[in-house]
Amino acid sequence: MSATGEALTSTQYIQHHLTNLAVGEGFWTWHLDTLFVTLALGILFLGTFYRVGQKATTGVPGKFQCFVEMCIEFVNDIVKESFHGRNALIAPLSLTIFMMVILMNTMDLIPVDFIPEAAKAIGIDYMKVVPTTDLNTTFAMSLSIFALIVGFSIKVKGFRGFTRELTMNPFNHWVFIPFNFALEMVTLLAKPISLALRLFGNMYAGELIFILIALMPWYLQWGLSVPWAIFHILVIVLQGFIFMMLSMVYLSSACEDH
């Protein structure tokens, strides 16, 4: 919408685009659009991959099976290279993170007004379609990874080992226990926070720039929006890769026994 829109100023337009469809109050607010899009993409991802898995042939694969195989092989190779240890969860987890983040980011490529306007036409006022521009999504994922980090650490090193790691590093003396603990806590907590904020920041900034471009006169928009979208193809895949890679590295170090 250009700035001369009937009811909205530029600020209102931007704000409108950055507001989730929410129900509830305070903490118990549900972002229905985020939940719905994430669920739909999850079903899309799992459904297609499940179908391919069911129909997979050991002969010459179809094009889509080939694509799925390439994705899985890519992730599997990375897991083999960077995760030293045996864990049945890591590879499927990495694949899911990779594909889901990419799919959610890909929603960014759909023009910013298409889905909100369509939603408006059927009476839904707000519609923010990129789940990864919602801090709740990115934190949900990174906190799950955090739980796994803690869980694996305790499982591999034992509760004593985990506590030891938090309190006896880097200075192995009882005097330094509070200092060590503070230091290690920062290291530990920085992992989920950096994971979530990196993805959120990248996608939010990208989305915002799309919205700003949409404020330009309609006949000029393509000049900026097409290059930005093309650049975004890279960002989308890269963010998915980074999220997966870092999760794997964190989990790998959690599983390593010193």
Binding site: L8, V112, E117, P217, Y219, L220, S225
Partner: protein, 156 residues
């Protein structure tokens, strides 16, 4: 409703973006996928071919083995035949030789017998004559009766 020209602008952008993807993003992806497909197909085909070749080679080997066996059998047959032929020939030859030797021996024996007979006859004739001479000495002259003696000698 706030639908206005912005939507048009976004539609243009989106179209261009999709065109870009069609031209520059999709082809390399599809090419990679097709290459992978081709690789797999080639691998499977060559595996099939190898299996077929192996089977062919096996069949060929079996054939050759059979041929060799048959040939060996023929050679052995021929050798057997030749052997019996040689044995037969040798038998025949030996038989002929025996007959010849026997004949010769018989002839020799016959000749010896004839000679002995002759000698004996002569000696008997001599003895007879001597006996006769002794008998006749008293009565007749030997010359007058020699024809009778000759006759006796001839009869002996």
């Amino acid at each position: 409703m706030n639908i206005n020209a912005t939507l048009l602008g976004q539609a243009i952008s989106f179209t261009l973006f999709v065109l870009f993807c069609m031209k520059y993003v999709w082809p390399p992806l599809i090419a990679a996928i097709e290459e992978r497909q081709k690789k797999i197909a080639d691998g499977l085909a060559s595996a099939d071919k190898a299996a077929k070749d192996l089977k062919l080679a096996e069949a060929k080997a079996t054939d050759q083995l059979k041929d060799a066996k048959a040939q060996a059998a023929t050679i052995i047959d021929a050798a057997n035949k030749r052997k019996s032929q040689i044995v037969d020939e040798a038998k025949d030859e030996a038989h002929a030789e025996r007959v010849k030797i026997l004949a010769q021996a018989e002839a020799e024996v016959e000749a010896e017998r004839n000679r002995l007979k002759e000698e004996l006859r002569k000696q008997v004739a001599g003895l007879a004559i001597a006996g006769a001479e002794k008998i006749i000495e008293r009565s007749i002259d030997a010359a007058a009766n020699s024809d009778i003696v000759d006759k006796i000698v001839a009869e002996l």
